[in-house]
């Protein structure tokens, strides 16, 4: 047995956790080891001191002082209620607002898409060529040109002609 194991064993022996065989082994080692004898005496000294710790008494009227403190906690305190529930409600409200906002974005009315004139004609099940045919049916060249100009302006309402 080495000194480390002996130290572990005599500390366990102090707690009454050693078997008879372990105790015999330990005693055999300690009888032949001056270092362990010294170490055990030092530990014993420490244990004696710790066991002799003087505990003062609690201050008088312990229960009498405690009782009002129990009732203090029972009284209704709005700040305590707010602290308990209100503070917890903040993250919950934020989550709720986030949920509602996303629901409105997803399920809310979609903006109407604006179609070009030919698009409108297509969705109304009319042939886009019908307007062209009307232009082509014009006999006068000037009338045709004027109608083509107006038709192109209607197609691109915001665009401007490039400057020469």
């Amino acid at each position: 047995m080495n000194c480390n194991k002996a130290e572990k064993l005599f500390l366990r022996a102090h707690d009454g956790l050693l078997s008879e065989e372990e105790t015999r082994e330990l005693e055999k080692h300690i009888d032949s080891c001056l270092l362990c004898q010294k170490s055990r005496a030092e530990y014993q000294n420490i244990f004696d001191v710790l066991q002799k710790t003087d505990f003062p008494e609690p201050k008088p009227y312990f229960w009498e002082r405690l009782r009002p403190r129990l009732n203090e906690q029972k009284t209704f305190e709005p700040w305590q209620v707010w602290k308990q529930w209100g503070l917890r409600a903040i993250p919950l409200s934020l989550l709720l607002v986030l949920f509602l906002a996303s629901a409105i974005l997803i399920l809310g009315p979609q903006p109407r898409e604006e179609f070009s004139q030919s698009g409108v004609l297509l969705f109304e099940d009319q042939s886009p060529l019908q307007a062209t045919e009307t232009v082509l049916d014009q006999e006068g060249v000037e009338d045709k040109n004027m109608m083509l100009i107006f038709a192109s302006l209607e197609e691109q309402p915001g665009s401007r002609r490039p400057l020469p």
Binding site: L50, K52, P58, W63, L66, L70, Q73
Partner: protein, 189 residues
Amino acid sequence: MDEKDLVQKSQEGNEEAYGVLVETYKTKVFNMAYSLTLNREVADDLAQEVFVKAYYALPKFKGKAAFSTWLHQITVNHTKDYLRKSSRMRLVPFEETKGGLSTRGDEAEKRDREEELAQTKKIVHEAIATLPEKYRVILSLRDIQGFPYEEISHVLNISPGTVDSRLHRARKMLKTKIIPFLEKEGGRR
């Protein structure tokens, strides 16, 4: 009325029943707080707070462990919280309790022995105060208050094997810290 009935009545809000439990356990709770803080005022205040806390936590007590174990758990945790928050442990000087020490009589030898013991106590307790919290707590439970391994294991919520190894380390650390002081003290005499 046995303890189980007292606990049940206290859970229903019966203050008289709780008062009996307080009288039974106040010294143990106070001693536990005192062994970790070494200050009577602070230990008394902590003990009061522990009983208030326990009173309001009673509805959650299911009776799986003994009431005393549950109460000791609250005490250790509450005192640890106090030590962490205040960090006063190292600033609070060890209060010598003179109750057990006789200063009367003219037996100089006896007085010397008592002075030496008081000095050793001071050194040991100040050394404990410098240990990491988990070692301080386990030394207090086992070597100062004499709790059995099994109860320490329940109070600290650790396995008996961990109790064994942590206690061994704590004792070694304490001895390493105080032996130089004790040898110095011994050398002076």
